[in-house]
Symmetry: C2
DNA sequence: TATTGTTATACTCTATAACTATA
DNA sequence: TATAGTTATAGAGTATAACAATA
């Protein structure tokens, strides 16, 4: 579709109000907010995560799913959704894609005919051995400005925020 | 969250090593990762933010834009994009919506005919006085599990992650 | 030639309703 | 009836290319 050019407004130039754009931006209020800082930090980590995990073609949520299947063989889709805060319809495509890549398999649940247990394939096990090592190594990289003690403190404090006792 | 059992892969019919879905999910590896914890914490804060900010009809990004305009009168779209990590095409709709709500106005930049400086309207100023108070108040609520010193430490450590010195 | 703001557009992520088959 | 998994789909959020006006 051709876009009509619509020069929206012809503003009068009022010299009375000096509409000056500041050249140094004051972000101090936003930076005082926990939510703002948590979001920026999460995005910074995820950015590095995407780079380092590109060889495995695993996005953060894919990795989370694969990691839970790794450490919880037979976990069901419903359990994955609860643990990760994913809605069931949105998990289906991820699991399908991981199964098509021969990284996981669905097996019938032994005691619930409605459910399917998820398990790693040998290829999935091999990939996750490397992927979890890479994820752990990336932690060190992204937290290189923090001491080991500070990193431990940071993670403990973050848990207190989303897992209030 | 303890893991109670951990059967490795087994044939579906083997009673000895059944492919049982674990009833307690082991999330210990994910919880050791900074990125996972930062994302979960950020989402927890944002959830409360959406509730408390609903009366102002400001989502987190809208609030960030409004707050920067509040403390930086005349700020340009380009500066907002740089400060908040938003892409210019995605800011246009937000600014249009805020302008339609009579919360901000575009004024011509005094020294750059291409740019538009953004300013609060009186209605925008009034709304932001309440909104920033509400934002500060919900900080206390969401960090009620932390002492004042812990909250300060947490924010300082988060800054170190996304603002490496 | 480079930059600001903009349009169009595509792709991803997330959310809701409804269906099936089992319980 | 309630739940696990699924389908279809709608709505946000985020991405790139390209254009007009201005520097």
């Amino acid at each position: 579709m051709p876009q009509l050019r619509m020069p929206r407004q012809a503003p009068a130039r009022s010299a009375a109000t000096p509409a000056v754009a500041p050249d140094a931006i004051d972000t101090s209020f936003l930076e005082s907010l926990l939510g703002y800082n948590a979001r920026r930090a999460a995005l910074a980590v995820i950015e590095v995560f995407l780079e380092r995990m590109a060889p495995f073609a695993l996005k953060p949520v894919d990795f989370s799913v694969m990691s839970l299947v790794t450490h919880n063989p037979g976990i069901t889709s419903r359990q994955l959704c609860t643990a990760l805060g994913i809605l069931p319809p949105n998990l289906v495509g991820m699991v399908n894609a991981l199964e098509r890549r021969d990284l996981i398999v669905r097996k019938p649940h032994p005691r619930d005919g409605r459910a399917m247990g998820l398990h790693l394939t040998p290829a999935g096990e091999k990939l996750m051995r490397h992927a979890e090592k890479t994820a752990a190594a990336l932690e060190a990289e992204v937290s290189r400005g923090l001491s080991a003690g500070e990193l431990k403190t940071l993670i403990a404090l973050l848990k207190k925020v989303y897992q209030p006792a």
